[in-house]
Symmetry: C2
Subunit: 230 residues, 2 copies
């Protein structure tokens, strides 16, 4: 790429989004990272996101404050619901936040339009999150079609691309990809119920997937857990 292009990167502070940020930076994009303060159970992950943006070479990082607790309906935003322990399942889990990726991508689209960016990166993954409707390739394709009809640039004929480079990777493949890009995964958090110090519960779905990923990759797991031996 001779001239640097701008990209909006959705950054949660987790393993997946850190990997897409490192990947987009390595591809030469000038990365504008977007995180959300959306009433999640802890805001520790936003501190991790801020640090990751700086350490991985983002041009800018913004946090949009949006209220998803107004509707409830998910264990991640409704504090009366319990986050379940890790288990294999094919159904849609209670940690699914209704329309969350649609909302996140809509904000990314807005910022992309203001920035003049034609590329948006999102770390969704259909392998680990088969139970989340908005983590599937057909969702990302349909969002992309809609996005190009929704915006000024789309109307003027400049196509916006939604990149989901982790879509078909297993967690160990994502970890290996990230390590090759130089990511220190101890600087990322995945847990649905982090404590204030950023230590993971070791029991929720997200912790389970992450831990299995390091095992499968044959890499020591650098995650700080709340329990001595989860």
């Amino acid at each position: 790429m001779s001239e640097a292009k701008k990209a909006v990167v959705l950054l949660s502070g987790g393993l997946d989004s850190a990997t897409i940020l490192a990947s987009a930076v390595a591809q030469g994009f000038h990365c504008y990272c977007l995180s959300f303060d959306y009433g999640q159970r802890h805001d520790t992950e936003l501190k991790f996101a801020r640090n990751l943006a700086r350490e991985l070479g983002a041009k800018e990082h913004r946090i949009a404050k949006i209220d998803l607790t107004v509707f409830g309906g998910s264990a991640l935003t409704d504090h009366n619901l319990e986050v379940p322990d890790f288990a294999e399942h094919g159904d849609i889990p209670i940690t699914y936040v209704p329309a969350r990726n649609t909302i996140f991508l809509s904000f990314a689209l807005a910022w992309a339009e203001v920035l003049g960016a034609l590329d948006v990166f999102i770390g969704v993954n259909a392998v680990d999150y088969s139970g989340y409707p908005d983590c599937r390739p057909e969702f990302v394709s349909a969002f992309s079609v809609m996005a190009n009809l929704a915006t000024r640039r789309g109307v003027e004929g400049e196509a916006l691309s939604i990149h989901a480079p982790l879509m078909h990777l297993k967690k160990d493949e994502i970890i290996k990809k990230g390590l090759a890009l130089g990511i220190d995964y101890s600087r990322t958090v995945s847990c649905y119920q982090l404590n204030d110090e950023g230590a993971a519960c070791g029991r929720c779905d997200s912790c389970g997937l992450r831990r299995e990923g390091f095992v499968a990759a044959g890499i020591p797991d650098p995650t700080r857990y709340q329990l001595s031996n989860p």
Copy 2:
């Protein structure tokens, strides 16, 4: 309709959204109205929205607080930009808020999923707002396709419908439709720069379209203007 169905209705407090709410109620829907506190120049319209929801028979009204000022880029959210006077134009105006309808519909989608609603109403209109990419029928169709891939119900085979019943109506036709439904349009606001008492500027695009609509409909304009004779 034998059993009342739930619908999410996007309600701004303006003429168009009041009309779709009255129309959805008349069709027998139980209406759950959603408004946004999004850093607009005035929050007077939220008071009008609250009153309209009550007066027109909504089951519930919620206001989601979201930060669109984080990106800027529109005269409606960037307080450093001036709202221009009413003028005929084919270009995309500065009052266009990037991806606003995409964001609003995404929130409606989230609430619909939590409520178990399969119908969402939005008052977009392609006649008056031809310059806004996200007010066109092809945008609404594409959003609908995406929405059905994004959500639990869509995946389970229950199709969600996005209704945009004003899409092809001229302002005077909307006004006549609303009057037939019993709407008191003095209880609605359209102005981009209302004052604190809810009086309209009489000069912005939105005021211009509204005023012309009443003239074309041959109906006295009940709007309260800041100027004695705009």
